[in-house]
Symmetry: D2
Subunit: 471 residues, 4 copies
């Protein structure tokens, strides 16, 4: 753990009056945004297919008086909503895409609503809704208090592997922003000083030659064999990369019919490491494994890079701002019913190290490397970025599980969402009222970033992979 700068104390007097009033108003409108989050939970739309979800968010922004810009970077579900004008420009990012296969009812046992359908296993229905809630609340406060500056909601689609933020940034959507605020659903509350994992994602496509699998298997060249050999080779690679590496894949296309030697097969793979240049070296070796699969099977391999994100760059100043506000907001208190739900769902968890009750606390910021990746990483190397997290999930529930999807659709998730919305709103208020904080965020940014050259592993001419979720 790292001690935080104390420069913020001086600014404390400025804000004392407004915050309680804003928090009170937010409590009054919390139910509405809970409903928004529930609707998006029900839509459960996957990356770049968030049509209903983005439509709902845009409609809410318009109604609240934001100027909505649509179709950013040619992405139908990417948008911004802007209020006010001039400096500073403070962005709040919201996500709203679901995950395949995680359809789940709001019960503490595995029960898909629709077998095999997508679900909000990462709580992005809450993510986009809390950011909306914060944005509207801050806008109301700005309007009422004639606060100068620009507030912008970033509707960022396809965080789960589609890289929406990258394409929005490339299209110039962030060019005037001073500070970006973000958050993520979690099983605890706090302001982050930790990093995430750099990631590269690609589809390895194998092209073979079809043949009748019984009549002339020797005339065929199996694309699936190419894939299998490559995948096997990647398994052997695991021993010989740094232990903090993560490599995981699915067989996204595994042949058309058993009686035809497959002429097409597709491996969809992610690789991650805390450090992008180290990941580059590992990625080269993964490519060699894929090439080996093609070589051995006399098939052809093409790699389609789908997405890549940097690890996130923490910002010391913004982490401190977020921490102070999260401490003011406090954590999540369960009703007896929620407590019972939590206890039941925890029985399904392999790891219950984080105790029940911990969701009531706000943890101080700590350095470290997280275990996930986000396209917010690229934002964080280009702009000062704050990252909060709130206990939308029962303590111990990891993201990308049915347990997370269950929490995200019921009262527990909504309570965490309100915590996040409040933390974001109060932090935005601080940044609008205290120019030193914006400057401090920029100084912190420059310090950690020193000597770094940002260069996304996604080629410059790459178009958003709008169909990456098709199978």
């Amino acid at each position: 753990m790292r001690l935080l700068p104390l420069l913020l104390l001086a600014a404390a007097a400025l804000e004392a009056d407004d915050k309680p009033a804003v928090l009170a108003k937010m409590d009054a409108s919390a139910a509405h945004y809970g409903d928004v989050s529930r609707k998006i939970w029900e839509f459960a739309e996957m990356g770049y297919k968030e049509n209903k979800s983005s439509a709902l968010l845009k409609s809410e922004l318009r109604e609240a008086g934001f100027r909505v810009e649509e179709n950013i970077a040619g992405i139908p579900t990417a948008f911004t909503g802007t209020f006010g004008e001039g400096k500073p420009v403070i962005g709040i990012m919201g996500e709203y895409d679901a995950l395949p296969g995680l359809s789940q009812d709001t019960v503490p046992e595995r029960k898909p609503i629709a077998e095999g359908a997508p679900g909000h296993g990462c709580g992005h229905n809450l993510l986009g809704s809390a950011s909306l809630f914060a944005a509207v609340s801050v806008k109301n406060w700005m309007a009422a208090n004639h606060i100068k500056g620009t507030l912008r909601y970033y509707g960022t689609p396809a965080e789960e592997g589609g890289g929406g933020k990258l394409y929005m940034m490339r299209a110039g959507a962030f060019k005037d922003v001073d500070v970006v605020l973000s958050w993520h659903p979690a099983d605890s509350n706090g302001s982050s000083l930790s990093s995430s994992l750099a990631i590269i994602e690609a589809k390895f496509k194998f092209y073979g030659k079809a043949a009748h699998a019984a009549a002339a298997p020797d005339a065929g060249r199996s694309a699936l064999d190419g894939l299998m050999i490559a995948a096997n080779a990647i398994e052997f690679l695991r021993e010989h990369v740094p232990q903090t590496t993560r490599i995981h894949y699915i067989v996204s296309k595994g042949g058309a019919a058993p009686n035809i030697v497959p002429d097409y097969a597709e491996l969809f793979l992610y690789a991650r490491h805390p450090n992008m240049p180290v990941l580059d070296g590992i990625w080269d070796r993964i490519i060699k494994c894929a090439q080996a699969g093609a070589l051995a099977s006399e098939t052809r391999m093409e790699m389609e890079l789908i997405d890549s994100s940097y690890n996130t760059l923490p910002n010391d100043t913004l982490a401190a701002v977020g921490d102070r506000n999260m401490q003011m907001v406090g954590g999540v208190k369960y009703t007896p019913e929620e407590e019972a739900f939590a206890e039941t769902i925890r029985k399904t968890l392999p790891d219950r190290a984080r105790p029940l009750g911990s969701q009531e606390k706000v943890n101080p910021p700590a350095e470290g490397t997280g275990v996930a990746s986000t396209d917010a990483g690229d934002i964080s190397w280009n702009f000062p970025m704050m990252e909060l997290h709130a206990a939308t999930f029962v303590p111990g529930v990891p993201a990308h599980t049915w347990q997370a999807a269950a929490c995200a659709g019921m009262s527990i998730g909504r309570k965490g969402m309100v915590v996040a919305a409040k933390g974001l709103a109060l932090s935005a208020m601080d940044l609008f009222t205290n120019p030193n904080l914006v400057d401090g965020a920029k100084t912190s940014f420059a310090k950690r970033r020193a000597g770094f050259e940002y260069k996304s592993r996604v080629p410059d001419d790459h178009k958003p992979p709008l169909n990456y979720r098709d199978q």
Copy 2:
């Protein structure tokens, strides 16, 4: 090669008058049935989804005066069309299902009409249409000549792995039949005395435990790992089974998203061997491989048996009947345009051993083991069955290829279809007019089948897998 019984010569006098007239009428109506085959080629519907194709065939039968029975065995696309009454009961079987991924235009180069869509790579559009053409032609002859007996068209869906004929037989659709006539598109003409491969088809389903693949891979149990380990083990098995065995599979479900440890994966596998009891032993070992995948990955494996067919039992008498009629009908003559098409498409073939021009001949019946499987196999162990083949494909073109799909949609395929229809029609005429032939077919059947006990590897309570083509 085996010498055929000569008992047929005695019957020769009976038929001399009728056959030329019937053949002449068939030439006159060939264009219509060519159009039918082209429509089904365009529908390109996969197993148990042949709704338009079966509707067209039923409509043709009704129009021709057949009594149509629908929804046989609870299968929407299974049907029969019956004409006449009393003994003998002669069946003609027709198939009409397409294959996944083999969409192809009628050009001599790889060009899908719709990328990834199904196509008639096995020529079943011709199969069902030729059988229809034969049935209607025989019916007209029976009506005109007051021929006694029952003629029945069997509309048998989902030959490609769905086992339609098995369920129709179980539902009693064949119970009164004396002899069944069948044919298959090929790159040569003749009457078969050879067998096919017994086959068992199943989906091996692996159930694991999902987890965030980066955050907690050690908390997950990968269903895809189970599948991969099983598939690898099966590859090792290949060396240690008889060389005439065939084992082939696809990964029909390979995980939902790379960042989730897959909790479900599915291997769709066929195994074949010329002899069903030997195949049983091999199948047991395949199951062990799948169990090993589950054991090693701490996942759960379930096998869903999809289909199984016996190798076909040749019938010496019927092979001779078919041979004599096919010799009368003769092979396929190409126009210069068709010749050019054939030459171009042959350049894309790895094996051109069968020479261009051979499609003009009719080969004599020969013993041997074919390289494919068919649900007609089960019919052949229960009823005397004749199997013809006709050159619908350019010599050298194997089934289950885009080349076959191309031929099946154009004039070359249609010419072969007419050959088959004529061969079937003349053979049915023989059987209706010569009771000795029906008796001879039954004697031949009893002789080859001696000591055999038919028992399908598909459990008795198994329902037709109407959704086996869903992915």
Copy 3:
């Protein structure tokens, strides 16, 4: 089956007198050569290490009056023994190498004499001894009857993968020979008209980078990984080569110690197919698999070609000569004790299709492809070669098993050895006395070989791999 030329009948009169006397003398000295075979069985020396075995054979030849030439092609255990002079030159080949791991006592149950030690699982102790027995018997007959011509015993080491005959031929040891006679232990008697499998053998050597496997596995590049990936790829290859292909391998070096990332690993692989040019294509693909292993594991691969043999070219004339003589010699009769042994050992066999008692018969020559390979194959494409086989093994016992090793050390094996020796001797007598037969053998040779160009896949500058059995 193929009908044999009848030209031999004319020669029948010539021989009637001599053969019974020769056979009678052979019966009188059979025990001695049985002892020789038993000694070599006990030596059980592997390829190129047959020092005692070759010494014994040379000593026998010298004692019988042959001129022994040693150290042929620089191989300590390769030799020839020559008697007489002038034309024709008739060779008889003998082998005497054992197989690793097949040490076995002369009992009908698995019981190694020394665990893991070599054993005569292919009966080569009998092979070399029967050929010696035949050579000495023919020499005695030649000397007694003043027969013109040259008789030569070829002591050919390392048949099991070492290619002794190839190097002897390259060194000129066969240059003046007219006809070569050979035989092989089997579970039946006859003269062969069938072929064998062409074979290529190589060691695939992987070179990696050692590292402490616990401390720095990511710093190592595992040669064993390279091997495993290559081997896995080869398993996938099996489905897509002609079914008559055989590919089999061992891991001859699999790492030094578990706690060191292996910097060396070695795959010792054979591939076979009835046709050498087809095998060449398969071999190219095996090399690609090995290269893929190196590519994927960032190791280096080197292929060391160990040996290669052609399939054998049958000789119609010689097959007929051998057949006639084998029919005269007759098969093997068991004592009640041998019968009991045979029945017991047959209970350990998976396949007992060949019935007990069949060892008493001599089968007529038949075309076909055998299931083994031999360095005699290269001889057969360069010189007319006769190949007999005799029932040294209980019917149903395959070569390369402990059952074969057991038979080869006891009376059953010795009886078969005598059959072979007699068949060889009588055939040599025919060739020495009937010049037409030698000419006929040459004509038959030229006919089957037409258009063929012999070119061993073993590079010209390759030295005999004298240490190929070291591990």
Copy 4:
């Protein structure tokens, strides 16, 4: 890093006089022990085969006046040498086994003395020699100063996977000991407060059925297939165990000859984790992988547990004692020649993070998990144990490499050895003269060990695997 207890300061006065004199005497006799280490380096004997090495060490001890006890636990190369009597009993452990395949000359490039031969890649030639040097020096000091207590040298064979110390402990060799001193060659100097990895080692033996690999591969059941399937499964396991796990293996037996389906194959595997109970769970899953290999290949699998060691339990008091003495001794200074050697050898290293020159310093003790395992781990959970390390290897050189073997045979290794010997000697002097330190060591031991129950994963009735290095 953890602050060390300061209780030692009080004892400082006691020792001031003796230590410099002892150190001076050690400098005078250093060359002799350097020669001992060089002899053992040349012997390069692997685990349980250290006959010459142990004979030399015993001879040295006897000459120095120790009472030598041989053949401890029935192990020919295990021994103790004892001097003095009464309490306290202070042990010093020495190792002297080499590693397979690491033969290396004392040059800064890869150059085996004998290709494939063992070498001292872990510097155990220095280990046993330094401990001997320390023991003799302390003995001389005790004798000269009439110091009360018992000093015992433990000659512990087969540390590299043979578990010598475990069997010696089980045989009672440690039963009266109060404190055990140990050290290990490294590329830096210090006293350890870190732990090591718990380890389990086993041979997974697969038993199949031999068959001629070309003639009847389907009759064989390949033991090598069983091994390969198991190994592949283990590769898939890597993703789903905690990232600090280590699993590594070799194929210690991979088949006898390519043309025989292998009936025996052997995987020699180590698994490690910082925590023994976690390792137990991982081990269960490895066993499942091995069982899966047998299941899928229809072979039989037997596991032979070879060795298991606990992670080491640090002792705070002894770490402090060691640190103080190592600081007094200081590090290693290179001559210009050694500097040149070091610079050259460092060019061959992938990781040069530890700078040249760092070998001159002594690092303070730090908590952490090491990357290796040692049978000293089991000692450390049963008796207070001190563990030093000294820079016998050029900075950056990891253990188990040819670079380490090179250093261990030349002046650089010898200099590090002297540092270790001095550190051990001074620490033993402290323990003999200051009873509080022995008590403190016992208190520290009890504190860290609280609640723990020691139970080796090696079964109680297990005999030392004296032949575990045979291949």
